[in-house]
């Protein structure tokens, strides 16, 4: 789920940071630059892990800042495809189920990757897994928001996002998610955690009935 990425960058340290040690200012600047941002084809950056190399610092004519080449390692959220993750349902829509991990929200489980057969309940705005009980009967298993859900990462999409205009200007900027994860729950064991906890006790029907009565 989390990886270390090796990166290199030239860091510009402005004179007001000269009272600090170089590594201290580099740490601050790298975290300011990268934390909570998505780097294309790398993933969502979380925090600086360590600095592996600090090169020579240069001062260019007309600029009092020092420029230093650094190599460093960053903690990055980048689940590999096929990995199993546990998240919470953010909302359901006609497109599928939106899942959040708290720090990362752009996860979609599309309709074709839900348990089969599923239907969308318009009144509750939730997806329902019509669990077959045999003899044509079925159990409705609702996927309400806030529930914990286990899913498999099936693919990832990176998109180049455009820089936003300066604050206060009326700049039509389309907000696209720079990094999206597509998941799937169409395998036994995937889906809401409560679905499968119930099954282990070999009395699916009773357990689910109990849950529904509780609500």
């Amino acid at each position: 789920m989390f990886v270390l990425s090796e990166m290199k960058d030239v860091i510009r340290v402005t004179p007001e940071h000269f009272h600090q040690s170089l590594s201290e200012s580099i740490t601050t600047l790298l975290n300011r630059k990268l934390a909570n941002k998505v780097v294309l084809n790398v993933g969502l950056c979380i925090a600086l892990f360590d600095i592996t190399h600090i090169g020579h610092s240069y001062i260019f004519p007309g600029d009092g800042s020092s420029h230093t080449e650094v190599k460093f390692r960053y903690i990055v959220f980048r689940p590999i495809v096929e990995e199993i993750l546990i998240g919470k349902i953010r909302s359901c829509s006609r497109d599928g189920v939106h899942v959040t991990l708290g720090f990362f929200e752009d996860i979609l489980i599309p309709v074709n990757a839900l348990q089969h057969p599923s239907r969308f309940d318009e009144t509750d705005q939730a997806w329902v897994w019509e669990y077959p009980k045999g003899e044509g009967e079925k159990h409705d298993l609702f996927m309400d928001s806030g529930e914990s859900i286990r899913f498999r990462v099936t693919s990832e999409v990176f998109e180049e996002s455009l820089p936003t205009g300066p604050l206060g200007t009326e700049c039509p900027v389309q907000t696209i998610a720079p990094y999206r994860i597509i998941g799937g729950i169409n395998e036994p064991g995937l889906g809401l955690l409560t679905w499968w906890e119930a099954q282990e006790q070999n009395d699916v029907g009773n357990d689910i009935d109990d849950q529904e009565n509780d609500e």
Binding site: V39, N41, L44, R78, E187
Partner: protein, 123 residues
């Protein structure tokens, strides 16, 4: 800018330790970086609900030691540390083609190992 996007993998426990340390350190300083504070807070918040909260370094080491004989990939073992499997179903999800690669005894042995080493989370 990037040299190697996948230099190494980290398990949830390691990330949790690093972030918690970072949180303690930055709290001492008067100035905090907004985006770093947000993402560390949210990530720690997520990790607190996972099993890594009750794990220790020794537990993970002992677990991986015990897993050596099953010939699983590094990734599969990493997933088992992050989400310890306690049922056969969970092992089937983590291990690809588990029916061919693991015998029934192996599966039970893994579950026993998980239950022995990692304490069940209080739910």
């Amino acid at each position: 800018m990037t040299i190697n996007a996948h230099a190494a993998f980290l398990c949830n426990y390691e990330v949790m330790q690093i972030l918690q340390q970072l949180k303690d350190n930055t709290q001492k300083k008067h100035k905090r970086e907004a985006s770093l504070a947000t993402v560390t807070y949210e990530t720690v918040h997520y990790l607190q609900d996972t099993e890594c909260k009750s794990q220790t370094e020794e537990m993970i080491q002992k677990f991986l030691e015990g897993m050596k004989k099953f010939k699983l990939t590094k990734m599969e073992k990493l997933m088992m540390v992050n989400t310890p499997p306690r049922t056969e179903l969970e092992i089937q999800l983590i291990v690809q083609e588990s029916e061919e690669r693991l015998s029934e005894e192996d599966v039970h042995a893994i579950i026993d190992l998980v239950n022995e080493i990692f304490p069940t989370p209080a739910t």
